[in-house]
Symmetry: C2
Subunit: 374 residues, 2 copies
């Protein structure tokens, strides 16, 4: 029987699973939010992922359920699991990606290095944390944030008064020390239900306006000790949280040579798009292998350097495809990936990957190719 992998969510991450699924002979089935989503080609159902019966009906025709995003409610996930559906990552793991307070508490238990943090219930508690941490801190809504949304740097408790006012009884915000970092890194690990793990090289990620703009793989000038620490943290988290599929750990590298966990994602991640063209096994193929409990592929880089540059916003006029001719003509080594999305300021509508021997060249070509789409 052909293996059927069901993906909840029809965004670009589901879209980019289509190519490896076709080659591996896996039947990809997507529950999309709407018509015309990025993963339209593989969409077999359209519906609300928060509705248990919709998700249950979708899950009936697949061998394993996985995700394009982490927003499927716990009660839906747990009902599926209770039905006997293979769900990867499962609800126990996903709760740590869905709630940053739960994640912080669990990482603390595991002894994973992370910023100083606290759960704060009101302006006074936040002010107390600020007073103890140099007068500046990052406040985060524990749930629903992405790409810089739900994150605010504050200097006074009252600056988060609106968020506190919106909290349900008993809920709290997460506050974290403002880490003085020299750069941001990301570590990806794939883990099968059976426990097999492979780690990708740690990469450097460059954010602009809270959104990932560029990734360099492996992270330049990373001493062996740093790479090993990052890999160790990735493996400890994947194992300690019971992650199945791809795990991305966003990290701060501090000016005193520590690395601290910033965020987690339990799915293919923007920091791993370089691997489509730069690693023996790309993260989308690896995710499919991992959730289907197939042996994992080699995560080794194929070239000394790979660079990914996001296409943000897209062209003011015309379509991405109309820009192809120029970008392709000037940069024949650039690999262009599009998401089938309408351009909108700040929206990720595609990315460019370039791999090669010389880092400066690779960065130059990737940026130069991507700029044609602005």
């Amino acid at each position: 029987m052909t293996l059927r992998v069901g993906v909840i969510g029809g965004g670009q991450l589901a879209r980019m699973m289509i190519a490896p699924a076709v080659e591996l002979g896996i039947e990809l089935r997507v529950l999309a939010e709407d018509e015309g989503m990025s993963a339209q080609l593989a969409a077999t159902a359209i519906g609300d992922y928060r509705d248990l019966e919709t998700v249950r009906a979708f899950a009936r025709d697949v061998d394993v359920v996985t995700f394009d995003h982490e927003h499927v409610p716990q009660q839906v996930l747990r009902a599926l699991a209770a039905d006997g559906v293979a769900v990867h990552p499962g609800p126990d793991a996903l709760q740590f990606a869905q709630d940053k307070l739960v994640m912080r508490a669990r990482l603390a238990e595991l002894g994973i290095p992370q910023p100083e943090w606290a759960a704060v219930r009101d302006v006074d508690e936040l002010q107390r944390f600020l007073d103890e941490h140099g007068g500046r801190a990052v406040v985060k809504t524990p749930r629903g944030g992405y790409d810089g949304k739900g994150v605010r740097v504050v200097r006074a408790g009252v600056e988060a008064a609106d968020w506190f006012a919106g909290l349900d009884d008993g809920d709290a915000l997460l506050v974290e020390e403002l880490v003085s970092f020299v750069r941001e890194l990301a570590q990806q690990v794939a883990r099968r239900p059976s426990g097999q793990m492979v780690a990708y090289p740690v990469v450097e990620t460059v954010q602009r306006d809270g959104v990932c703009a560029e990734v360099i793989a492996p992270a330049p000038a990373a001493p062996e000790r740093l790479s090993q620490m990052a890999e160790g943290i990735g493996r400890m988290i994947a194992d300690g949280l019971g992650v199945t599929g791809m795990l991305a750990v966003e990290l701060f590298e501090t000016d005193d040579e520590r690395i601290l966990v910033n965020e987690l994602a339990m799915r293919p991640h923007n920091s791993g798009h370089w691997s489509q063209d730069g690693a023996v096994t790309g993260q989308f193929e690896q995710h499919l292998r991992a959730v289907a409990d197939l042996p994992l592929g080699d995560p080794s880089p194929r070239a000394p350097w790979s660079v990914m540059v996001n296409i943000l916003g897209g062209p003011a006029a015309g379509t991405l495809e109309e820009r192809f001719a120029v970008a392709m003509s000037e940069h024949p080594t650039a690999k262009i990936h599009t998401y089938g999305k309408a351009p909108r300021p700040g929206r990720k509508v595609g990315h460019v990957n370039v791999a090669g021997d010389d880092l400066d060249d690779v960065v130059y070509v990737a940026r130069a190719a991507a700029v044609h789409f602005d």
Copy 2:
């Protein structure tokens, strides 16, 4: 507007265009012969490619028509072209891939090195050719042969009596000298309607029972002179025959250091499957770029050596997918590509690509991974 590329034929070549089409944001539409073909996921129509109205209706909704095979009749192709449809490769080029006698005559005009050949109308003419060429020769039906079918080695004219009896009035068979070759090579070139061309490195192909079994890229121990000759022949043919899209030229390397053209294919070709994982731009992406008249991608190898091993026949019991676990587990660097076809003795049902620095290792891993599917 999203670019729509229509592929006539739903086989594995159409299937392997799906992955690059998704990434490039090209809408691939396939006219399949039947339900459940290899390219099922992209099938938008089912029908007979020999029927003009079927093909016309299909062509109406695409920007360019291309092919999974070379069997669409000339009258259908010419009617499409007369309708103003962009057809790549076009009928003028495709006739040379459809009729080996027409091809031989044209290559002779272009001065391309090829085996001695003749058009023979009856047993006597064939016998005369045999008498002049050492008593052995290869007889081919000019049309419809593939994977060793329609090809016969003969020592006497009467050995082709059945084929002559089946000829229509005025038709002939092709007879070629039996070339004493040391190995077989293949040269791929991509050419755009605008004339831009790129050449892949010449590769060595290993046939078993008339079917491609293994490809090594680039061809080992190929002196610079040989590579340049092969590339030159590829470019001359692509240009001289007006090919658009991918062209594969199958070559004999003789024991007296010549290379002679054996066969042509005007589409992605088995000899180029290595490029999916071994070249910066794989042949399926390149074909899409070429037929859509987009600038061509870099055809350079990503690794010193790439090896492709076909999966022929497939497992006697069970499915390819059920064999994955063992092959994947033992060979994490092997890239497995499946065609979604039921196993049948001698049928190509998938292939394995491996790339790396050491040729012996790469060959070993590719063969060892593929053998799990026998």
